[in-house]
Symmetry: C2
Subunit: 226 residues, 2 copies
């Protein structure tokens, strides 16, 4: 609102839940020190909408400010805005969520880990305001989306092995998957293609695959009704 208090229309913030894939868990990027009523708690990145910015541009800007990353998967999630006790401070939050590929997660400066860092989804600190609800909502959406679109590939670097892909799915969905069924299904969906490269490791080298840019991941979900 303006300094003289002549305007009581609500202000708009755009907040972004940023997901990344850790070794053993899905992670979320949190920051401290957001101005306003955050009381020093950890919060998801966000801020006020600029005057000439679209909602998505504002979300992309916040994402870049905290991670330096651009062109990530970014989608509007939901708009939160329960009226607070004091209507003069009312804030409406348009929440977005984004997915950072594994190798990009290192872009977050570990020198300032007391201000911005990755947290595992299943062990978050107490969050400011209604941010716990927003993260929980985003997680539900991500899991859901993983099952009927190709978002899963956004979590991985450009090339990956089938075992890495399976591990990513297992971490996000929180359940183990059968190796042979997984491979058959993912290959028959025709959305990845083998490269000529192999990843060397402790055992037999694993073929590297890449997501096919031209892949149209048709959503043929089985209908519940009718």
């Amino acid at each position: 609102m303006s300094a003289d208090g002549s305007c009581i229309c609500p202000r708009i913030t755009v907040d972004v839940v940023i997901f990344g894939l850790g070794d053993e868990s899905l992670q979320v990027l949190l920051v401290t020190g957001r101005p306003g009523a955050y009381q020093g708690r950890w919060a998801i990145p966000g801020g006020f909408l600029g005057e000439r910015e679209s909602l998505k541009e504002a979300a992309a800007r916040k994402l870049e400010e905290e991670t330096g990353l651009t062109d990530l998967f970014l989608e509007q999630l939901y708009t939160f805005g329960e009226p607070p006790r004091d209507p003069s401070q009312r804030v409406i939050t348009v929440a977005y969520y984004a997915v950072a590929p594994a190798n990009a997660m290192r872009c977050v400066d570990s020198a300032q880990a007391d201000r911005v860092r990755w947290w595992p989804c299943d062990a978050l600190p107490g969050l400011a305001l209604d941010h716990a609800e927003i993260v929980s909502y985003a997680l539900t959406r991500l899991r859901y989306k993983l099952e009927y679109t190709a978002v899963g590939f956004e979590l991985l670097p450009e090339t990956f092995t089938l075992s890495e892909l399976q591990a990513a799915y297992e971490i996000v969905l929180g359940e183990p998957l059968d190796k042979r069924n997984f491979r058959r299904k993912i290959l028959s969906a025709d959305v990845i293609e083998p490269t000529a490269e192999y990843r060397l490791g402790e055992g037999r080298p694993a073929r590297l695959y890449r997501y096919r840019a031209d892949a149209v991941a048709e959503v043929k979900a089985r209908r519940l009704f009718p």
Copy 2:
């Protein structure tokens, strides 16, 4: 913004796409004469968010103001807000969509059909602002939701015949369905139960069913991945 122009923060409107089922098509409720930059065109119902209202309360209020109906299915759709040329007039719209049962559609006063009336989805007039986009988005969501939840029943009165239910699905999905498969599937889903009543008509009387309030419509969609 305030009268003296000291505040340029965007204003928030809440707009509602209200669906109902006509004899041969899905319909949407539109109004004329909304104040502001609507230029006399047809628009979806909506208005500014009250100071102490939640977003959903505002949507329910708009719904009741135009139809007199309460307790309909009502869900947040998406938030629209591209910046206009003049940022001092910026408006962010939180869009909701609602589903009115067939018998409730008559609550709309046909005496003022020049101000508020139902339009078939496939033959809408030119709409104000970005409202055509909002309706189209809502329609996609409704179709989608019809396939994996029990929203379909919101379109029908409390009791209905299986033929009426099938017709509702065919109208919304825009494709014909096989009668025997439809009946088997809907009955085995265990979400409706027969009443003792029959609907008399031109041919053999048809059994009336009702939606089971205790039905848990489990969503077991087939995963695309993995």
